[in-house]
Amino acid sequence: MELKTKILAEENKQEIVITRDFELPVELLYKAYVEPEIVEQWMGTKVVKMECIKHGSYHFVTTDPMGNQHHFSGTIHDCETNVRIIRTFEMEQTPFAPQLEYLEFIPVDASNSQLRMQIVFKSVEMRNNLLKMPFAAGLNMAHNRLEQVSLK
């Protein structure tokens, strides 16, 4: 079966390309990226600010299960309805440098669309570290589970 979400991470490049096919008209896909109440639902975050216009900006705050707040923010460089968003993305107070994101909303037919998201990082190393984060988190979880079992 063809994967719906694909990640292209070429070796020694400081970028990745994420593509995803949606059974949605392009207008609804775009809406999911600019309407704060909708972004909150699928990104699992609180949207403090969402101003999707040229020179605009956005700010998300997520509270983890430990009660710590994490801030994510960026500025909008270009925003064309149902076509594209060009923006920066920063995880505040982390060692990760801001990244540049090119989002393209591509209509396939009246009820299908595709999202193409090109993310440019500060360095190849930073890209690789970010890609490994969920992998490392998975390893840690497995490790913690083992520890819990062995404590019993």
Binding site: A9, E23, P25, L29, K31, Q41
Partner: protein, 105 residues
Amino acid sequence: MNLRRDVFQAVADPTRRAILALLATQSLTAGAIAANFETARPTVSKHLLILTECGLLKSKQDGREIYYQLNPRKMKPIADFIEPFRLLWEQRFDKLEQIMKQYKK
């Protein structure tokens, strides 16, 4: 599972990646592998040692020669390391799709 060396560190080096690529389809002796590189033979031997220590390569004695071959079982985590990242996005996008399908009605 006790990895003496981290597999990701092992594949971070371009020469070592080239060695893995070379061995993808065939087993070769250290000499035959070294013949593909301009680096000194001892340097290639050191790379082979590191790859063997972390389990990415297996060596097999055949008469006087030692043949190196890939250990595909150990290669799998490297091919899969991006998968958790992909799944994270897949879950988000699935949710987006689900929410917007309801929105349509």
